[in-house]
């Protein structure tokens, strides 16, 4: 159909300037349930949206995607209603399209580079990706690639998050025997313990994990590496080790009163709610304190997830406290937008200075400093500076600290000969994923600090290539 590029103006005249909207659960309804908020495209909507693509000769969007999906390629298949071919094209580069389509920060990646986006809204690449992945899920068993010739090499993956899953999938498809160890009782990493059901249904994650098992990866949950087995012990048994253990150690603000009851790390709050399903209490036995006034500190996706979870748990007021302004918030646009629609209150340019408790050691108030924006800092964002004598207090009964995580120290502390950086991150070679310890590779949040699903997947892919070269050149 649209193989050539028939002159931008004629096309621009035909295409809609805005993305085809995706149906969503209305805000008033969805804050009372845990179901997914955006409902996805129908085939007609997907084709309509796909038709907006200009099929550029030098597609910039591909450069924007950390795993270099052939974006115009799969979109072309959608316009031709060849969904199966579209899925195959996607999965050549990305084995988790249903997840990336939902959680990638497209506005900073593929869609940011889209030529249409210069004057109008870019093609809704993420939504189209999600459409194809969901379409495939509706067709029954996923197609398996042809069985590769066994190489006789054994590789072990530590951590079943996006980085580990991607590395495992690539390596098993190259014919290696792949075993995967996960510390928790469920695989998926942040995808299951962090990102809430209403944003990423867990059934989707488990479907992808099942696919991985069908490819031949052996998964062992409840295995904390560093304790039950050391890295050296793994190296005795396997030809190479990949560490995808994520950034799991929560940061706190280090302000007075932070250890009062009712103050959670985002990880604890979300883990109780998601992994342990506290929102289904008492059927599931893990309790969670359902505050009336819940304050979440931070401005990233994690903070939005906590604030929106609080509403679903029945909070009357869910407040985000963030020290810069809305423009600097690192969360995806869509998440901020959804949080606003649902009634989350944004207390911007404010930073907690202390938490005050009642007589029973429960938090009662948060005291904040008002901030203004000063000169840009290293990250290019304007640095918040406190305004003197402008402290204020707000009544709260739950606070959630969502200001970031650093890598878990367990593996570095039990593996002294692995080099770590300033934040306790494992130092890797960016082209191969190699660490300072021979035979050990790493990628994802454990190497970069908390980042994104797709960057973790990209790192998993790079390491898989590095591992393949390494084990095949080893006698």
């Amino acid at each position: 159909m649209k193989k050539s590029f028939p002159g931008k103006d004629t096309i621009m005249a035909k295409v809609s300037p805005t993305k085809t909207p995706m149906r969503e659960q209305p805000p008033q309804e969805r804050v009372r349930n845990y179901d997914e908020v955006p409902l996805g495209y129908s085939p007609q909507e997907a084709i309509f949206e796909a038709e907006r693509c200009l099929m550029c000769k030098n597609p910039r969007c591909i450069e924007g995607c950390p795993v270099e999906i052939d974006i115009p390629g799969f979109i072309q298949f959608i316009t031709e209603e060849k969904f199966r071919d579209g899925v195959r094209r996607l999965k050549e580069k990305n084995i988790l399209p249903a997840i990336c389509g939902r959680v990638c920060p497209q506005e900073e990646q593929c869609e940011q580079k889209c030529i249409l986006g210069v004057k109008n809204e870019p093609v809704a690449i993420g939504r189209l990706e999600r459409f194809l992945a969901d379409w495939e899920a509706g067709q029954g068993e996923p197609e398996l690639p042809p069985k590769p010739k066994p190489t006789g090499k054994k590789i072990v993956i530590v951590g079943a998050g996006p980085a580990g899953i991607t590395a495992a999938a690539d390596l098993v498809r190259l014919g290696h025997k792949v075993d995967m160890f996960e510390a928790l009782h469920e695989p998926g990493g942040v995808l299951v313990y962090g990102i809430p059901e209403f944003r990423l249904p867990k059934a989707i994650v488990f479907r992808e994990i099942n696919y991985l098992k069908k490819l031949g990866v052996k998964l062992y949950t409840d295995h904390v590496i560093g304790q039950i087995r050391s890295i050296d012990e793994l190296l005795d048994e396997y030809d190479a080790v990949f560490l995808g253990t994520g950034a799991g150690l929560p940061w706190f603000l280090n302000v007075p009163g932070e250890n009062l009851n009712g103050i959670y790390s985002a990880n604890e709050y979300l883990t109780r709610a998601n992994l342990m399903k506290a929102y289904l209490f008492p059927k599931y036995k893990t309790p969670i304190v359902k505050g009336k006034y819940v304050a979440t500190v931070g401005g990233g996706n994690v903070a939005m997830d906590c604030a929106r979870t609080a509403l679903r748990l029945g909070a009357e007021k869910s407040i985000i406290i963030y020290r810069r302004s809305r423009d600097e918030m690192p969360a995806r646009d869509e998440e901020i937008h959804h949080a606003e629609e649902e009634g989350v209150i944004f207390k911007l340019l404010s930073n907690p200075a202390a938490f005050h408790g009642g007589n029973n050691s429960w938090v009662k108030e948060v005291e904040c400093v008002s901030m203004k924006l000063g000169e840009p800092d290293d990250s290019g964002r304007r640095r918040p500076v406190p305004i003197p004598d402008a402290n204020f207090r707000m009544p709260i009964d739950v606070a959630v600290i969502a200001i970031g995580n650093s890598p878990n120290p367990l593996i570095p502390s039990t593996t002294p000969d692995i080099e770590t950086g300033r934040w306790g991150n494992i130092v890797t070679n960016l082209e191969t994923g190699k660490t300072s310890k021979p035979g050990v590779f790493a990628g994802g949040d454990v190497a970069t600090g908390a980042a994104t699903v797709i960057l973790a997947m990209g790192a998993g892919k790079i390491a898989a290539r590095g591992i393949h070269e390494y084990v095949m050149s080893k006698k």
Partner: protein
Amino acid sequence: MQIIDKSEIAPNVYACKVRAEAIAKKVQPGQFIMVIPDQYSERTPITVADWNTSEGTITFIFLDIGSSTNRLAELKPGEEIFSLTGPLGNSFDIKKYGSVGLVGGCYGIGGIYPAARALREKGNRVVCYSEARSKFLLYWNKKLEEVSDEVRYATADGSLGFKGHAYDLLETDLKSGVKYDLVITVGCTFLMYRISKVTEPYQMKTIVSMNPIMIDGTGMCGACRVEVDGATRFACVDGPHFDGHQMNWDLVLARRKAYLDEEIVSGERHDYGKS
């Protein structure tokens, strides 16, 4: 993980033996496991009390105090535990100190058992203090005697050994000139707190084995944070063993109350009433 054996060794106190070859090979005194009895239950941290490497089994002791331990108490030999992860946390530092006093109450009697065994093997003189409200609530007396130079019993009603609490007994001993190069205590928060207070004036190094609320037990959630020497530490990865004299006990006692009203109520039913 399959349950090999389970019995109620004292009213409401259970010993559970499970097949866990890999853990049995690795576990050290003072480490714990994370248990989820069935898919609806909480992740529950439990100290490993005994193990047998050649048999490939581990044994842990728990009190039936909440809905999840309740579910665990219902499981029968031959049945599977939904999830069991370990070993977790650090072990006690097992080496030659000279003379070591070990104080255990409730699940902690099981908790000090492997420490006593290992410390004695290193050539220490090992004295255990085992406490309960009454004689019939004590357990593992013989086992403990086998691995100690002496076991001193404290019961609130005086039905066995000293009449009173283990911390009273320890205090009496210290006053009469007994010296330990190290004291280790495992049990309910209140017991460990009181033991720390007893040894503090003697500047007798005291290790407490903290048991705060935990979710994952791998350093991810921070629910188990305690304040040691002014700094926030995570019991699951930095501990669970800390210096009892550096612990911010007010905070520990306050945080412990967050969810466990239920546990405290049932704990009071069985032991160590608050004096």
